[in-house]
């Protein structure tokens, strides 16, 4: 293959933590509840668990990863970023996560606090624009699998690693098949962008940005 793949739907990066935050994690600091229709336990909605003082070390490390992702992967100009939501998922055997994406967020990530071999990977799913016309399907016609034409791509859920992605990307994981529970801490981050530079202001289209600034909540 020597063709050029163009316009990726998103960028996924895995970060390996040099500190084993799994060893500092104390489950008793957090309450979790089981939601209807799900086989998993989750910390309460609107409890931004990353702000808990016991997770200060992890929070600081995640912030450096967000800086790296925004600066070196997305190449963004920004003033600040903050974690707008974060939550714990505790998956017992059979627990799964259907395909979804994270609205009201710029980038997202999941840190695996407890994961074992045999736990399902995080799968990203290609989405299609809604088909408003008849379409020709190629999905069944490929001779083999290739990342450029795949409709799902899996990233391993390894303990003390974190997967970071753009929030609009659709993702999911299959049911836990083993007896050991999997604990992960997921987060969404919002970004307050840098105001347009003098150079940007000279360009009609670049200067014509509708303004947006996000408020950081205390909890």
């Amino acid at each position: 293959m020597s063709g050029v793949p163009i316009f990726p739907t998103g960028i996924v990066k895995t970060y390996n933590s040099s500190t084993k935050f799994s060893e500092e994690f104390e489950p008793k600091n957090f309450s979790v509840k089981k939601y209807g229709g799900s086989n998993k336990w989750r910390s309460e909605k609107f409890n931004n668990v990353m702000l808990h003082k016991s997770l200060n070390g992890l929070h600081e490390w995640v912030k450096t990863c967000i800086d790296d992702y925004l600066t070196n992967e997305l190449c963004m100009k920004y003033d600040e970023h903050f974690i707008s939501e974060s939550w714990l998922n505790v998956n017992l055997k059979g627990g799964s996560q259907p395909v979804h994406s994270h609205p009201n967020s710029i980038i997202s990530g999941t840190y695996y606090v407890k994961a074992d071999e045999g736990h399902p990977p995080l799968e990203f799913h290609r989405t299609r624009p809604s088909d408003t016309h008849p379409f020709i399907s190629l999905s069944e016609q490929y001779t083999g699998q290739h990342p450029n034409t795949a409709t799902s791509i899996a990233f391993p859920a390894l303990q003390d690693t974190m997967i970071v992605w753009q929030s609009p990307l659709y993702h999911a994981h299959g049911p836990i098949q083993i007896d050991e529970q999997r604990i992960s801490l997921s987060w969404n981050a919002l970004v307050n962008f840098a105001p347009p530079s003098e150079k940007d202001l000279e360009d009609f289209y670049r200067s014509y940005t509708y303004r947006i600034k996000f408020v950081k909540e205390d909890t």
């Binding site: 793949p5 960028i11 992967e73 190629l138 001779t143 290739h146 947006i212």
Partner: protein, 209 residues
């Protein structure tokens, strides 16, 4: 950068021709039309010029490259493919092509019969479809990056061909030179292997003109 870009919208491949096909083609043998709202000349709709016997050599070469694209870039299993449409565009000064894609086609290409330094490249455009309020990042990038770009340009080098999936949006800005830019574009349909009985069937008919 060490992250992994996922799910590209499409694949674009450049092919260089070993011979100058312009020398083998008599452009005057075709008629050209100007369409309303356009400053470019085009061979008539529904005249598949690659089927003309005088175009046999270039048609054979294009078909070889299309096969490479189907086999090695898309990795498709198929029984046959054929050119369903092909046409010549002649862009004089001011001639441009608005953003569009090619319906009723699987893969497409443009062979540049005549082009010069200064002629506009072929721009591919990322498309968005918003059905809900969205947060724009476009203005906040500090530098160009192919993974986040909304437009990518491929040069229209003479005696080269750009092959792409037909659904990709593309266009070119006005030609600012006095010299003409001449491209031969084509669409191809593919009849796939039909081993999997669970798939809804589709088979395309090859027209004779």
């Amino acid at each position: 950068m060490s992250a992994i870009p996922i799910f590209p919208t499409g694949m674009v491949k450049l092919y260089e021709s070993p011979i100058l096909f312009l020398d083998t083609i008599d452009l005057a043998k075709f008629t050209y039309e100007t369409y309303k709202g356009s400053k470019k000349l085009r061979t008539p709709k529904h005249l598949n010029i690659l089927l003309d016997p005088a175009m046999k050599d270039i048609a054979t070469w294009i078909k070889m490259q299309a096969k490479d694209y189907l086999d090695n870039e898309l990795g498709l299993e198929y029984e046959e493919f054929f050119f369903s449409e092909s046409w010549i565009n002649i862009s004089g000064e001011g001639g441009e092509q608005g953003i569009h894609n090619h319906s009723n086609s699987i893969i497409s290409g443009t062979y540049y019969l005549k082009s010069l330094d200064g002629h506009p490249p072929l721009d591919f455009h990322k498309v968005k479809s918003e059905s809900e309020p969205f947060i724009s990042l476009t203005e906040h990038y500090k530098q160009g990056n192919p993974n986040t770009a909304s437009k990518l340009a491929f040069p229209c080098t003479q005696d080269s061909m750009i092959v792409f999936q037909s659904q990709l949006y593309h266009g070119h800005v006005p030609n600012v030179l006095k010299e003409e830019r001449i491209g031969l574009s084509w669409n191809a349909l593919v009849n796939f292997k039909q081993d999997d009985k669970s798939i809804y069937r589709v088979r395309f008919v090859q027209e004779e003109t």
